[in-house]
């Protein structure tokens, strides 16, 4: 038996910004690494360091804005450095440490590109991708708190990766100026973007299935969360449709680039797709924060 706490509906916009922009930055890092590898293979070891620098700058700016938003979430932002005080047991402390490492590697990557240091830039890109992947795992673990069963599955990590896969290719393509790519690369970029949509669809369905499976032997939090999920499900479907539309716009941009349409038009289309992906994933995160029902445990009634 439990009591539903009077819920204060507080805007989690700063956390939504952090958990949308940071995965998007990781997506840009991945696309940069993939593009660098592909062009190096195609052009016999040469690639565009200036283009790589632009991607590094984008990833660094996205992460910086995300970090600034997460600091703004605090009641005492000036005490933010104290958030590293409990690395031993707090996943939130570890998340702050991980995002700091990611941000530093992005800055190193940007600096290496600006200074024309190719080997350093490649190494920094690789390390940033690895650090970003670890960061997403740590962020997902920070949300695994037992009073919120909706957050306790692997769907949280999947949704973060969905944002990376959805927003990364479109943003990278837009920043690259909409230049035509080899057919294989174009198909791969669009496939990755569609992969993000598939992961989003899977994560919501998997979360609902998991909660339905544990509901019979669980407490009221699960059944209340399922009721809320049922109420929000039409919104989830609309988000899937919107995300699909963004993938279509991105695919159209890539196709137009392939047939020689002017780069500015193509870049604008890709940028619109990227912005749409960010908005959709921000709304996915908003639903993530809306789902849990906070209850206060009380003693079981005895007959």
């Amino acid at each position: 038996m439990s009591v539903i706490l009077r819920e204060e509906r507080r805007s989690e916009l700063p956390l939504i910004a952090f958990t949308t922009l940071v995965p998007a930055a990781e997506g840009v890092c991945l696309c940069a690494l993939a593009g660098m590898g592909a062009s190096a293979l195609a052009e016999g070891g040469a690639f565009d360091l200036a283009g790589l620098g632009a991607l590094a700058a984008l990833a660094w700016v996205l992460t910086s804005i995300g970090m600034a938003a997460s600091v703004a979430h605090l009641a005492k932002p000036l005490r933010a450095p104290r958030s590293l005080a409990n690395l031993r047991s707090s996943w939130l402390s570890r998340e702050i440490a991980a995002v700091s490492v990611f941000w530093a590697l992005l800055l190193a990557w940007l600096a290496a590109c600006a200074l024309g240091r190719t080997v350093l830039a490649v190494a920094a890109n690789l390390l940033a991708v690895a650090a970003g992947a670890a960061l997403l795992v740590v962020v997902a673990l920070a949300y695994r708190v037992s009073p919120r069963p909706a957050w306790c599955g692997s769907e949280g990590l999947a949704e973060l990766w969905a944002c990376a896969l959805g927003a990364g290719p479109a943003a990278s393509f837009a920043l690259a100026g909409g230049d035509p790519m080899p057919l294989a690369a174009s198909c791969a970029f669009v496939a990755v973007s569609l992969g993000g949509l598939a992961v989003d669809v899977w994560s919501h369905r998997a979360r609902r299935r998991r909660l339905q499976a544990i509901a019979p032997r669980s407490d009221e939090r699960v059944s209340l969360t399922l009721a809320r999920y049922a109420h929000l499900w039409p919104c989830v479907r609309r988000l899937w449709a919107a995300e699909g539309a963004c993938c279509v716009v991105f695919a159209a941009a890539v196709a137009l680039a392939g047939v020689g349409v002017h780069g500015v038009v193509v870049a604008a289309l890709a940028a619109a797709a990227a912005a749409g992906q960010l908005c959709v994933h921000a709304q996915h995160r908003n639903l993530f924060y809306e789902l849990p029902v906070q209850v206060r445990w009380a003693a079981k009634l005895r007959k």
Binding site: L84, L92, P147, R296, W297
Partner: protein
């Protein structure tokens, strides 16, 4: 020595005196003028439990922070602002260190962490100042039915677990 609140549900008359005494002792504002219907932070809250089919009698439960032996809020706080008092075992918060990130409120099973206007975490502190003066907590002092008591837990923070484990072991033998 670890202390714990004990609540005798059969003695509670739902007079809410414990809630009022707690708010008064800690100077907690009701916020009623700014937000009609609001109650502001309530360290101790009397909740009414009724079974859906009416088969069980209505019960009133006065709940506050459980000062858990394995406090989730303490382990998740990124700033290390939540700590345990060694003398009475109360789980306390250092407002000079609290960031106001609200992570503790996500981790607590009992809804104990709450947030006042400044955004920093506040919660039941077992009236630690009164305890150090040799007095009882405000809720214990005020409860006219003797439903709430504060008693030392022999064996420290793990004693309730050990007691439960012994009982479960005994029940298994009976089966």
């Amino acid at each position: 020595m670890q202390h714990a609140f004990h609540f005798n549900v059969k003695r509670c008359a739902q007079c809410f005196a414990c809630e009022v005494a707690c708010k008064s002792a800690h100077g907690l504002r009701p916020h009623a003028q700014e937000e009609p219907g609001a109650s502001g932070p309530r360290f101790r809250q009397v909740v009414t439990l009724e079974s859906e089919d009416g088969s069980a009698p209505v019960q009133y439960v006065s709940m506050a922070c459980m000062h858990c032996g394995d406090a989730a809020c303490m382990s998740v706080c990124p700033a290390g602002a939540i700590y345990r008092d060694h003398e009475f075992g109360a789980v306390l918060v250092d407002h000079a260190k609290c960031l106001g990130c609200r992570y503790c409120s996500w981790a607590c099973e009992f809804g104990a962490p709450q947030f006042d206007r400044d955004g920093l975490m506040v919660k039941c502190d077992m009236c630690i100042d009164r305890l150090r003066e040799g007095k009882k907590p405000a809720c214990v002092q005020t409860c006219c039915g003797g439903a709430i008591t504060l008693e030392p837990v022999e064996g420290g923070v793990n004693a309730p677990r050990e007691t439960a484990a012994r009982r479960m072991s005994a029940a298994k033998r009976l089966l």
